[in-house]
Amino acid sequence: MSPDLAPHATIYALVGAALVGLGLYGLVARRHPLRRLVGFNIMGSGLFIVFGAAGMGPLGPDPVPQALIITGIVVAFSATALITALAGRYAALTGRAGLPEETPPPEGGAAGRPEAS
């Protein structure tokens, strides 16, 4: 069934695929931006595990996927940082944690709470 992938690499590849599924579910189904960010990071990390596991050749781990994964992790982090800042600013302005079409307006009227220092 599993080709010459070192036995435990296949396990990680399949676990990685499952993680991608879990992450995608979090990214698509959950409404809270921070939850979706967690989903995004898990999906990314799962994808990288698949990439790393698939790169496990007979003579040890293939360095190219490793380098690309480091790049991927840093890119994922910068995206997470940007969205966190945007979500924080949006919540400060409107008092809502999620997107307008998914979140009821805060009970203190439409205007958001006074700016938290």
Binding site: V20, G23, L24, L27, V28, P33, R36, F40, M43, G44, L47, V50, F51, A54, G55, V64, P65, L68, T71, G72, V75, S78, A79, L82, I83, L86, A87, R89, Y90, L93, T94, L99, P100
Partner: protein, 507 residues
Amino acid sequence: MTEPLDPAALAAALAVALPLAGALAALVMGRRAGDLFFVTGPAMALVAAALVAGVAEGGPARIAVGGFAPPLGIALVTDGLAATFVATTVAVMAAALAFARGGLVARLRETRRGYAFVALAHLAWGALNAVFLSGDLFNLYVALELLSLAAIGLVALEGKAETLAAAIRYAFFALTGSLLYLSGAILLYAATGTLDIALLGAHAPEGATTLVAGALMTAGLCAKTALFPLHAWLPPAHAGAPAPASAILSGLVPKASFVVMARLWLEALPDAAGPALGPLLGGLGAAAILYGSVLALRQERLKLLVAYSTIAQIGYLFLLFPLAGGALSTQPWAAGAWSGAMLHGVSHALAKAALFLAAGLVLARLGHDRIAGLSGLARAMPMTAFAIGLSAVTLMGLPPSGGFIAKYLLLVAAFASGEWAWGVILLAGGVLSALYLFPVLGRLFAKGDAEGEDAPEDEPTGPLPSRAREAIPLVLAGLAIALGFASAWPTALLAIGRPGAAMEGLE
């Protein structure tokens, strides 16, 4: 190993390096960032010219970055497609940056929006060139990611609640798209051991892995290009951003992921697609045309109307796949369809950027962009009205614009290939775009004091824009129209290094 200095290689390297250097300078300069335009604008024009000249003479070339050829290193691909889109990007970016100098980018002190705009615009510029020139799937992922982050920053630039919400929504679509694209790239690397598009084309991988990879990458790129079912993020994002940012977002950003899709299905996996891909993407494109047009019809605000028209116009691009995709690329009409789709990409970029800049001028002058309140603008701001007219002509694909040539080439290909259904959709799209664009032009010609239509508070609040600033959208729209007349040269340039041995046109 330093071979003689090849101008195309240097131009390609500078096409990416220069805007990024500009971005770094903008990051550091702060207050004087607005004047950066005087350096990067002309320099990039020179670089684009050198690249186009290099490609025109030397033909398509693959430049190994760092001296290591693929599969180990990354290859830059300088073919007609890349050169044409790099040149188009110079035109739109220079216009957007020049336009921003007068308003968004204050000269006296460093404002949040001014500082961020100049830096993000240059970053987007570098990212766009990196995408057009790159021939490596993972490199495309990183460049697309840089483009997405810069674009998200541009969307959130106004800082108002709805633009932040639009930016967050856009971010999640773009990020999901990137990861799906990355998963496809990873699987292709795992299957063939290379990430280079040309080598993938040579490998011609088969089997389940390739199909799954192709499907995932297509889904990801469709999310980033806002093709019909995955388009919900585009209108609020592009309409909410400041005018020069909307010009960049709507004119150029979707083209980048479309070019990646074109390279994927026409160069990397030409015959892995099977018969289903063309009709699927063409069908979605057609749905985008109809959906975008109908919704544009119902908009009261100009910028939202223009944003929905972007969704419709993106639909035209995807007619490339049913007409020239996969196994069809050897058919005689495929060349025409390919040139038509790419020319549409170029003329739409110019016209859409001009329209958004003109809408920005209207917004600055009247304080609102309600279409009903635009009456009599032709008298107050004739050049802006004229720019809106010319870009509307291009978007409708009426002669003598570049849009017409593109539509004509696509139509001929559609009829020649026997699937005239795409031709009918193209024609319907043209009529629909006339339906939602001409009322806007009508409003411009309406007399200022048309009986009681515009409420009293529609008195123009902002100052009249300076003639130079009003000229920018006019120049861009003029370029789109000029593309209609002088389209022989661009189509020839586009044909250099075109995938597939398609015969030259129909003669």
